[in-house]
């Protein structure tokens, strides 16, 4: 009950934050030189004037802003300026399930794999397995996805013919394997280092010594007594990890030819597709704010000494 009230309170608190982000972005994209209808061939001035009138760009900026907010109140992100005949809502609704599946799989794999590797390394502290996994983790953080994904595609796709190099069929699991691996590796590597550090600290704490003095087997000590406190830093890293996966998905989706929403942010910004950029910023920032909230609640669940206070 307390948690639910806290959750709702924080959600309401997120509204002004989101509003500020929308406002800043709205004016910022308009400050950038150029406009949505600038092309290599200059259009006749009458055509540009007609287009501007059709999209309401001939109005003063504050009226455009007021109209945009009015649309948002009805969950209408407005028409895309570049993808003719599409609204931003339609574009995002088409791509979001693909990106969401990709991102959720990558985050889940990063969490499970990272925590498992980190815990294993901590239990093998200063032995070969510890060093090997931490070197792999360092490599995982260092290799960018635009190098890793083509390399994976070359090996598993072209040499071994196990998996498709790129492309997307609705509901095809095989298409997602390599992109998910490429996407999850940096956060996985980071989480494994985080877990190893916190697990080493917890394993050296007096209450683990008490647990050993009770004669508990190692598995019980790790899973019942050590894992929960060791996961607190991992939970704090959740929101940055989601941000990392979101920006990563931009590259990975492009290379793997997945019809997600990652491409819209960069394309929208380059094309001065004002509504599309705003729509993407709203989706991304809502997700980040939400993950921050989830992380705070997770920490309170992991550590009963933490009190949730709005």
């Amino acid at each position: 009950m307390h948690t639910i009230r806290y959750f709702l309170g924080r959600l309401c608190g997120a509204v002004p934050t989101l509003f500020a982000i929308i406002t800043i972005t709205f004016f910022l994209v308009r400050v950038a030189p150029g406009g949505p209808f600038d092309q290599e061939q200059t259009l006749p001035p009458e055509v540009v004037a007609n287009l501007n009138a059709a999209y309401g760009l001939d109005q003063p900026v504050w009226i455009q802003y007021a109209r945009y907010l009015r649309g948002l109140a009805h969950f209408d992100f407005g028409p895309s300026f570049r993808y003719k005949d599409f609204t931003v809502t339609e574009l995002i609704a088409q791509g979001l399930p693909v990106s969401f599946t990709l991102g959720a799989l990558a985050i889940s794999l990063a969490l499970v794999g990272g925590v498992a590797i980190g815990t294993f390394a901590a239990l093998r502290h200063r032995r070969a397995a510890d060093h090997v996994s931490m070197v792999i983790a360092a490599v995982g953080i260092a290799i960018p996805s635009f190098v890793l994904l083509p390399a994976l595609g070359l090996f598993f796709g072209i040499y071994l013919h196990w998996l498709p190099v790129a492309g997307w069929d609705e509901g095809s699991v095989a298409d997602l394997v390599l992109p998910v691996i490429a996407l999850c590796l940096p956060p996985l590597a980071y989480i494994s280092r985080l877990t190893r550090g916190s697990m080493l600290e917890v394993l050296g704490s007096p209450y683990i010594r008490t647990a050993m003095a009770k004669g508990l087997p190692l598995g019980t000590i790790v899973f019942r007594h050590a894992l929960r406190p060791a996961l607190v830093p991992v939970a704090s890293y959740l929101a940055p990890a989601v941000a990392m996966v979101m920006t990563g998905s931009l590259v990975v989706e492009t290379i793997a030819g997945l019809p997600g929403i990652g491409r819209y942010l960069v394309q929208g910004a380059l094309n001065r597709d004002y509504t599309l950029v705003l729509g993407m910023v709203i989706v991304y920032s809502s997700l980040l704010i939400f993950m921050g909230l989830v992380a705070d609640i997770l920490i309170a669940i992991l550590d009963p000494r933490v009190r949730l206070e709005a």
Partner: protein
């Protein structure tokens, strides 16, 4: 009847980066069934390491020599499975700081019941019922509610009683109590000592009481071992030791205890100087630099631990007269 715990010539040293640090030097100690043996000395004299050595909980870089027999069986360097069968069941330890020695994210009930589930093969329900009964026995007020609470929701005294109750759940043959009252204020200390005394009578549990607090020791111990710089310098029945300390260190330690009765001294007696650096080898008696009775012989040859009259043993070339 053989003793519950028999330590012979135990040495513990830690391999550091450039030096070997001797924490315990050839210590021998016996605890009979139901006996309370106190180990006293300054901080850093090796008391806690002694307990951890018995529990098999010394860190991996510790070099251990000698012998530790529990109920007649050698447990030094015993395999982990064998130690786990003893730990928590027949051999238990009460840790110094109950604030950090209890798992913060598990309820008191879980932390206590898991011992019974593990060693007595009870179901969780039954184990929790037994744990609750134990909390009442160690006089934790409002025990049913405490079962569902987390350690940070309890006071220091209550946490220590939980620690004591947890160690006694399987009615162990031996409890190692490492500074059980140090983190507590004086009135709570008295209550905790009373609980320990009761439990000892009820379960005939042997106790190794590690403390630097002589008043705690005087109220509980049958026999006292005084440690200095990793060695035992004097051992005697509690009554003999508190009546007539024979080692100058023991005597100095006792004169440092402030007294309520009698004339007020101008300032609290203290022991000048510091214990030797454990990384350095001392040629003679380790206490010689701080001792008022040092002779040339003391700095040359280390005094062996030798019997005086009665059960008293002392490691001193110039023991104090009775």
């Amino acid at each position: 009847m053989h003793p519950v715990l028999s330590i012979e010539n135990l040495s513990v040293a830690f391999r550091g980066a450039d030096a070997e640090i001797a924490a315990i030097r050839r210590v021998s100690l016996d605890v009979a069934a139901g006996e309370c043996v106190a180990v006293v000395g300054e901080s850093g004299c090796g008391k806690t390491q002694l307990c951890l050595a018995v529990m098999g909980l010394l860190p991996a870089n510790a070099a251990i020599g000698g012998s530790i027999r529990f109920d007649g069986r050698e447990i030094l360097a015993a395999p982990r499975a064998q130690m786990n069968a003893l730990r928590g069941a027949r051999l238990a330890m009460i840790f110094q700081d109950p604030q950090s020695a209890l798992t913060p994210h598990l309820t008191i009930g879980t932390q206590m019941a898991e011992v019974l589930v593990l060693h007595r093969k009870l179901r969780w329900r039954e184990a929790e019922a037994d744990a609750l009964a134990m909390l009442r026995r160690v006089r934790v007020p409002d025990a049913a509610r405490r079962m569902r609470q987390y350690p940070h929701e309890l006071s220091g005294g209550m946490r220590q009683r939980v620690m004591i109750g947890m160690s006694l759940l399987c009615e162990p043959d031996l409890v190692l109590a490492d500074e059980p009252t140090t983190a507590l204020d004086v009135t709570i200390q008295a209550q905790v000592i009373a609980v320990l005394r009761e439990m000892r009578q009820e379960f005939r549990t042997g106790i190794v009481l590690v403390s630097h607090d002589l008043s705690v020791v005087a109220g509980l111990a049958d026999r006292v071992y005084v440690m200095y710089a990793g060695c035992i310098v004097e051992s005697a029945a509690a009554a003999d030791l508190f009546g007539h300390a024979r080692h100058p260190y023991t005597s100095a330690l006792m004169s440092c205890v402030p007294r309520i009765s009698g004339p007020v001294p101008p300032r609290l007696a203290t022991l000048p100087g510091q214990p030797p650096n454990p990384a350095e080898r001392v040629a003679g008696c380790a206490f010689a630099p701080r001792c008022a009775f040092t002779s040339e012989r003391c700095t040359r040859a280390p005094p062996p631990l030798r019997p005086l009259e009665g059960s008293t043993m002392v490691a001193c070339h110039h023991p104090l007269p009775r």
